[in-house]
């Protein structure tokens, strides 16, 4: 599903990702852990082209983005990749000038050119799935953070992505609102959705992950099934990280 090879990413002189190799298989839930500044979010953002690659390749649903190719060619590929990926952001990034339902169906109308009727039926189904159908005509500013994030998940699902990317989906939420969002993500995992999740919620990671990827200083230090990672971390850095949690 995702195949990352020798990916490096620098912001001017600062190298934030160093020679990353990572595979995510269909139906797999990969949770990326690591201290702040370890490059987790950047890695996620490279997958759907929100960050440009400095070197290496990323393959998503058989579409290859190669850092060696021309800018124009890469952009073409990235645009295709984005049709196969959905993203959920830390700050939700709902469109404030559109209602909940409009937020969910916007890309269906604009990118996929669905008819309004079809899109609304689809949007309503998704809002039911995240438990917010009664809020469909409300503007995002009227919703709690947890509700906003659930709408954002519905919006990402609307495009029927092969894989969902979550960039710290609960980090901006009040503690009492975290669970409702995690519950939705867990349901998606049970339904077999392929997901890559960056999070600081350890218990959640343990429950939902098929595999943990632990990053530090721009490299993947350790990866494995959650039972192993949490009970017997192999590296000192992972041990230190888990102790602090």
């Amino acid at each position: 599903m995702i195949n990352i090879n020798n990916l490096s990413k620098s912001f001017s002189t600062l190298e934030v990702l160093k020679d990353i190799n990572l595979q995510v298989n269909s139906g797999e839930v990969v949770v990326i852990l690591g201290p702040s500044g370890s490059g987790k979010s950047t890695l996620l953002r490279c997958i759907n082209g929100l960050e440009e690659l400095t070197s290496g390749t990323i393959e998503v649903s058989n579409i290859v983005v190669d850092a060696k190719k021309s800018h124009k060619e890469r952009n073409k590929q990235i645009k295709k990749v984005r049709l196969h990926t959905g993203m959920v952001f830390q700050q939700f990034n709902l469109y404030p000038h559109k209602t909940v339902l409009e937020n969910v169906i916007e890309a269906l109308l604009i990118v996929k050119k669905w008819s309004k009727n079809d899109a609304e039926i689809k949007g309503e189904t998704l809002l039911k799935r995240v438990g917010l159908i009664d809020k469909k005509d409300v503007y995002p500013s009227r919703l709690s953070g947890g509700q906003q994030q659930r709408v954002a998940i519905a919006r990402a699902l609307a495009m029927e992505p092969d894989i969902l990317l979550f960039d710290e989906p609960t980090s901006a939420l009040d503690p009492e609102l975290v669970d409702e969002v995690l519950a939705v993500i867990k349901e998606l995992a049970q339904d077999g959705m392929t997901m890559a999740i960056v999070t600081h919620e350890m218990t959640f990671a343990q429950e939902v992950a098929d595999r943990i990827v632990f990053m530090s200083d721009g490299v993947i230090v350790e990866e494995g099934p959650p039972e192993e990672f949490f009970s017997q971390p192999q590296t000192d850095r992972a041990k230190k990280f888990l102790k602090k949690m």
């Binding site: 929100l50 645009k79 959905g86 993203m87 952001f89 000038h97 890309a107 604009i110």
Partner: protein
């Protein structure tokens, strides 16, 4: 007061031209503003430079001078514009520069996350601008743009110098006929004030309509 009542139709016709010039200049000025704002934000080096030069020149010179250049100056090159046409052109170009800065600021105030959410869902930069960024930027730009529009309404009095019979010139023509100043000047001052207030009212309504999502 009688002289006012008798000549009211004439003054109202002047007010009509004042409004007409304001609205037409607002319309074309807004189109210029959108193009210039986007050019400054998204254009290549040359286009950005052009847009900056335009804004700098227009904001750095008196509107009166711009009007005179368009009407009298261009005539030197055989371009004899009708006074009203010259007024439309000069004022549209003038207001476009101010509005483009307002709009640019408004576009820049939209958080980066809005672009990212739109891009991540597969939208093109154009679609993102049109559907996501612009509608939000307009909302931010409305109050300061409203000030510019009201300023515009008053600046139309400047085109009296190129013989457009708008409100101020209507009064001047009547004064030349009756040899009294105060009644006419007070009357048009009142008419300007009524029109400005009307404008503010309309803008407030628009602002309210656009802010339903707050």
């Amino acid at each position: 007061m009688d002289v006012i009542w008798v000549n009211l139709p004439f003054l109202l016709k002047g007010a009509y031209y004042t409004l007409l010039i304001t609205i037409i200049s607002m319309f074309f000025g807004s189109i210029i503003a959108v193009i210039v704002a986007v050019a400054r934000l998204k254009g290549n080096k040359f286009i950005r430079w052009m847009a900056r030069a335009y804004v700098s020149i227009i904001r750095g010179t008196p509107t009166l001078v711009q009007i005179i250049i368009v009407y009298y100056g261009l005539a030197d090159y055989g371009l004899n514009l009708q006074p009203l046409t010259a007024a439309y052109i000069a004022l549209s170009i003038s207001i476009g520069a101010y509005l483009s800065e307002t709009l640019r600021g408004a576009i820049q105030s939209i958080p980066k996350g809005q672009y990212e959410a739109a891009y991540a869902s597969g939208m093109s930069p154009y679609q993102t601008m049109r559907r996501i960024i612009f509608p939000q930027a307009i909302r931010v730009a409305i109050p300061p743009a409203g000030n510019t529009f009201i300023g515009m309404l008053k600046e139309t009095s400047l085109v009296s110098v190129i013989t457009v019979t708008e409100l101020l010139r209507s009064a001047q023509l009547l004064i030349a006929q009756y040899y009294v100043y105060m009644p006419f000047y007070l009357a048009i001052a009142l008419m300007y004030w009524i029109m400005s207030t009307g404008f503010s009212f309309v803008l407030e309504r628009i602002e309210k309509r656009l802010s339903i999502y707050d």
